[in-house]
Symmetry: C2
């Protein structure tokens, strides 16, 4: 048993088996499966099937056995911990006709950890189960937790790699140990699957498709997906089955074509956050920012301050949920509230200018709307939202009917207000 | 083809097959699988395996065929939409030896929708694929979208139910149509799996275990899981394999024992939200609420206003991110900021009282802290958070070292501040 040993041939197809009653019962959502999918696909390894079974030994043996027959290469997650539920190792050892034995190195390591942490008495016997491993197994070091991973291989080269179920440990062990082992690092010609996302906002899916014209049905050598959400419509371009340099060049080419056509709706790529984009633009122009929020109740401020380092641009603001706060804090005239109602472009503009006046910020952003489920009227149904930006006395406002539930309407509102700031900053 | 027809025998074991390249590649996390697990387990149906395959017809046929052989009862999700990728129906029809044919009722319905929405021209041929169904299939009505579900059954009583992949449509169809069909509503003796969660906050996992004493290792006939998160530690009690009335009584008994021991840390059950609990308690006592937020930047206000109907209690507040706003808006003395620093219990108390004074609310809640990743010092490392509540001039404050990243520290801070309000309201 060692960490060295001849590495196997690089694999191109494998199966995943995720193990745990928690997963089958739906108490835990299987994020490990998705993470493995993304990471392995990016390394050029195709996952052909993912199976989830409970903690029963017979179910584990059967599912892993089926998977081994189909591809000869299987990664499992879960069932390596110290509790008696964790049947993964013996169930898979049985499949390979191996007995279990105590690994003294692991056992000593567990005992040393117990003592080093100052826990009382000696290591309980149940914890020692983590030191039981199948004969002739290779141990995959776990720098992120106590349960080591296990690599088991037969004389036909078929293998199973067992990783822990705790996402942080699984991810660490995949990157540290398993991926270098199976991916064959130097294989530049290996076909990969890579994606790139352009993020748009302020335009609907069908209008965006119209704008893209013939590009909407796909750019040769790539596929295009429209992914609508509360932040806007993401455009995901994917390339499959070509080596990395070719994949990268196809993605860059496609992104350039899409950007040219969809500009100015594109605010960033991949996991870009519009709040961070706006903060960066403010920083460059030396502008400070304040908010005045009614229906979003602080959500816009929370989004802006979720970005580390926002304090050099963002000064704060007012949550003006009650109309009295709109009047007293932001100097929205009572007559305006009476005449136009709190949900109006006039009030949004007054709020934006009001928060600038009281905070001294260069830019004031205001949102007022009917997030529902109650409070709608024939004139202003649930989803009616008005927002405004005062940028050094240039004031713009918008009104729109947002779709979705209370949470979605609020998220769309915060995004729309940020987009108005971005457009005004771009216009200079 | 009809919605009536003799319903099958109630099933007790089945398999799930979720279909889509998106799932295998990890672009989409499989929340449908978890939702089906929870819902079916609660209805006494055991899921023995869940399989995920891509959009390829051969993979779908093989995975569904394997599952049918094991249990004779399979639910699939995904692959019913109008695009050419959606191979589910023909792949499964092949398995049952059925041809595909056009269902004129569905086709007419699709055409009518197209026209009713005022879309140009006539329904594209690609959309008509949704009207192609296997011979002798039963249609499962979809009130939540355009693609109907399909029920296919052979003469041995083995069946496959195909549901759409869009979560909202899948959930609706499961509740409306499929669950009543397979669960055998009147079978009161059917063994079920049921859970109940008690939500605690303000106490760590190991202290909570100490407090629970012998209950921590489980109450007879139930299992207990400790689930720590930023909202606190949830205690999940589960009962398996007994009929519903017995399961309900065991859960109620266990919950009563745990509540007795863990009180006053328990703020609610199941998906209770502490913000909603606090709003209810304020409403009963006729109190209004305002916030003054520094490091949370609006997150506490956003949480409170996420609760529908919060406007009769919550008036608003101040996002005092910059120290200048703390002084000018909330009247925090400059000397106090200088002497104790913005992150101090003194400043938190002054902020809470300040926001009460300017808004006229009965209760003011204030948070100030170092959310990181920058801004820490030896004295006040990242994670140092102070919060205070002024309830009609009774002022309490706390200081704690929070763990986690910026987002987690902010979430824990908002929860801790709400918990202080709850405790003070309980004390009267």
């Amino acid at each position: 048993v060692s960490e060295s040993g001849a590495p196997p041939e690089p694999v191109r197809r494998l199966e995943i088996v995720t193990i745990g009653d928690e997963l089958l019962l739906g108490f835990t959502i299987d994020t490990n499966g998705a993470f493995l999918g993304r990471t392995l696909a990016a390394a050029g390894i195709e996952i052909v099937r993912r199976t989830t079974v409970g903690d029963g030994a017979a179910d584990i043996t059967r599912a892993v056995g089926d998977a081994l027959e189909r591809t000869g290469a299987v990664i499992t997650t879960g069932g390596l911990g110290p509790t008696s539920d964790d049947a993964t190792k013996p169930a898979i050892a049985r499949l390979f006709g191996r007995d279990m034995r105590m690994d003294e190195t692991i056992a000593n390591d567990l005992r040393a950890r117990w003592t080093a942490r100052g826990w009382p008495g000696t290591l309980p016997t149940s914890n020692l189960q983590q030191a039981m491993i199948p004969e002739s197994a290779t141990i995959l070091a776990n720098r992120h937790g106590s349960a080591p991973g296990i690599w088991l291989e037969d004389d036909r080269g078929r293998w199973v790699a067992m990783l822990p179920g705790v996402p942080r440990e699984m991810r660490g062990m995949l990157a540290d140990t398993l991926l270098p082992r199976i991916a064959g690092k130097s294989d530049i010609d290996r076909p990969v699957i890579r994606s790139l996302t352009l993020r748009t906002t302020g335009i609907g899916e069908s209008s965006l498709a119209d704008l893209l014209g013939e590009l909407a049905s796909g750019i040769p050598g790539t596929t295009l997906a429209f992914l609508p959400g509360t932040a806007g419509v993401d455009l995901r371009v994917t390339v499959r089955g070509v080596p990395l340099p070719e994949a990268t060049s196809r993605l860059e080419n496609a992104a350039a074509l899409l950007r040219e056509r969809a500009n100015p709706h594109v605010y960033g790529a991949d996991d870009a956050d519009l709040a961070a984009v706006v903060l960066d633009a403010c920083r460059i122009q030396g502008f400070t920012l304040a908010v005045a929020e009614s229906c979003t109740g602080g959500m816009l401020g929370a989004r802006i301050t979720a970005v580390p380092g926002s304090s050099d641009v963002f000064v704060g603001g007012v949550i003006a949920y009650a109309d009295a706060i709109k009047s007293s804090y932001l100097a929205v005239p009572g007559a305006m509230l009476q005449e136009h109602g709190a949900v109006s472009e006039d009030v949004a503009r007054a709020m934006a200018s009001g928060v600038r006046a009281v905070t001294g910020a260069d830019i004031g952003i205001a949102i007022t709307g009917v997030a529902g489920p109650g409070g709608g009227s024939a004139d202003k149904p649930v989803g009616t939202v008005c927002w405004a930006v005062d940028m050094r006395q240039t004031v713009k406002s918008r009104r729109r009917a947002m779709v979705g539930d209370r949470g979605e309407i609020r998220e769309r509102s915060a995004q729309a207000a940020l987009e108005l700031v971005r457009r005004m900053l771009m216009a200079g």
